[in-house]
Symmetry: C3
Subunit: 260 residues, 3 copies
Amino acid sequence: MKPSAACQTMRDRVPLVHCITNYVAMNIAANATLAAGASPAMLHAPEEVADFTPLAGVLTINIGTLSPQWVTGMLAAAAAAKSHGVPWVLDPVAHFITPYRANATQDLLAHKPDIIRGNASEIIALSGQAASGKGADSGDDVAQAQDVAIRMASQRNCVVAVTGPVDFVTDGTRKVTVHGGSDLMPKVTAMGCSLTAVIGAYAAVAPAFDATVAALSHFAVAGARAGADCPGPGQFQVRFLDQLHALQPADLDAARLTWL
Amino acid sequence: MKPSAACQTMRDRVPLVHCITNYVAMNIAANATLAAGASPAMLHAPEEVADFTPLAGVLTINIGTLSPQWVTGMLAAAAAAKSHGVPWVLDPVAHFITPYRANATQDLLAHKPDIIRGNASEIIALSGQAASGKGADSGDDVAQAQDVAIRMASQRNCVVAVTGPVDFVTDGTRKVTVHGGSDLMPKVTAMGCSLTAVIGAYAAVAPAFDATVAALSHFAVAGARAGADCPGPGQFQVRFLDQLHALQPADLDAARLTWL
Amino acid sequence: MKPSAACQTMRDRVPLVHCITNYVAMNIAANATLAAGASPAMLHAPEEVADFTPLAGVLTINIGTLSPQWVTGMLAAAAAAKSHGVPWVLDPVAHFITPYRANATQDLLAHKPDIIRGNASEIIALSGQAASGKGADSGDDVAQAQDVAIRMASQRNCVVAVTGPVDFVTDGTRKVTVHGGSDLMPKVTAMGCSLTAVIGAYAAVAPAFDATVAALSHFAVAGARAGADCPGPGQFQVRFLDQLHALQPADLDAARLTWL
């Protein structure tokens, strides 16, 4: 399914995206999901997630600001997603910087996410190799993470997206890079977390690989347009939401994809 | 009290608005309350709310991102509001989508809110009827919820506001619709949650019905002005805060009210 | 170290700033820190902060939206900062409005912050005197808090910053006021919380007093530029982030400092 077709389908269906994300990202991730064309729902309590996840078209989990009750809710939601055939996306933010975060990530991986999105350091570290990230920022290049991502996708039977200046997506067999975006994107917090939510929006209506490529294309084109002659990161965030909303499905095919 | 008079009084007094709201809404609800002319205070812990609510001019509770400690805090704050004569506003976000959320809402209703604000699906479902909302978005029209709202207002002795493309406010006897706003409002997250906080700002200085009509007028006029020739939801949010702040009290009377 | 030199050093090193802040501020504080030139990391759980704080260049703690698990995490992080020589900054938001908040603040002070930043009411109340703040807003003038701040800095062997229309910084010996900013700053929520994070960014690379003066200069100049011909608080927030990012180190020396 081409990105344009995925976008048209997503906007026609307005899928309900169950987002469990971090406190920093919640507002911008919800706004990005709305602007892209889907309906975000943020709820996290262990007391209700298992009732809600099956009603959603997709589940996305981002571990940015963990605490025990949230981890319990994430695991319950992931389990509910698996048992009800709801696809789910994992965003293991800075999972390697503390043992607590590393353990929570392993517990989540046991619920077999359909898509894993991270920066290069996060994906490299997931494979057990040493990464050089600092906090939530990557210290490694996307290209360095490609081989790791391909093996991970094959072994875990999922799609892996490594995002950065150039993005890389693989399901272990297919491999594609997505070009676009803006130098201002790393200067706005939670852009990656927002992307994870939008990948979810697409994964509710399209196969995991196609959905990921479509979401990355949507961000790449919107980011490039928002970044043109942009005075800084404040204005970029505003224009980026406008572009996510203004892009028409056919515009997504303007993202430059390189098949490897 | 006319909306213009309520606005003038609110800005003169700068009431302290105790907001217990969801993680998605906190920043924008605080900014909307500040821009409108009041002073928001966000705190939620059971350990301190009962000490703080009596110091505030009003309490607003929004259940968007519930968890047990938050529910405990909300109930303690609502009880403190009632026992100290502080008016309070309930925003039962998507209360019907899980049993946990439904039960929390019933517990909150026992503390007799002075104002209930919701979208059509939320208000219909509060009455026990089947609603067709999806997540936080309404699947029903405001007009369909009017009769339910009138009965609810009479039975619960409160003001009920049903918000959407056209808003409806009733205290069981008086009934008015408020026209205005922008098609972009549903494309920005937490606009309803922010409205709840601003209803609170007005309810701190005016009777519940007048306060609700004034707050809806403030949003309707600011929304219409912000939405004129607006490129998208990112820019809308920026302009909307500017308009909430720039509007003069007399401007609120430009909102078209239709008495039924 | 002049503000310009501190800024150049901060941008060269891109320090990792461990921020434990409130739900309202998290997004804007992270964006302000990124725009200024550092790398923010938001994590708060007692299960991981002691592993993470030693990896950061600085720790900042803001008590805006307290709850018991957060207080436990804050205390663990502050203890880790002290034992590993990581400087830390305390922002005791509205600490005097409830006993719970007051007690948490005393517990945090026992870990000897290197810098304390507050508005006039917060600093006056920290000394045990009566303050007239309302919620998070100051009811006192910065000038009224200067003597208190000087004594506090001497007794606690730390830097104290009192911020408002004109800021005041002292280490007990040196005393300086910083002029600039915009009347719109108090109309945007969490500007003070964001400043605390940016003070942290500077304190990771410069002595506490110089760092505080540099961060206040950065905010003063960016605020003045953002506020020029600004239509309202929505646009101000956008422009302010752009200016934090656009300012060059030498621009910081444009802030008017008055040594007392």
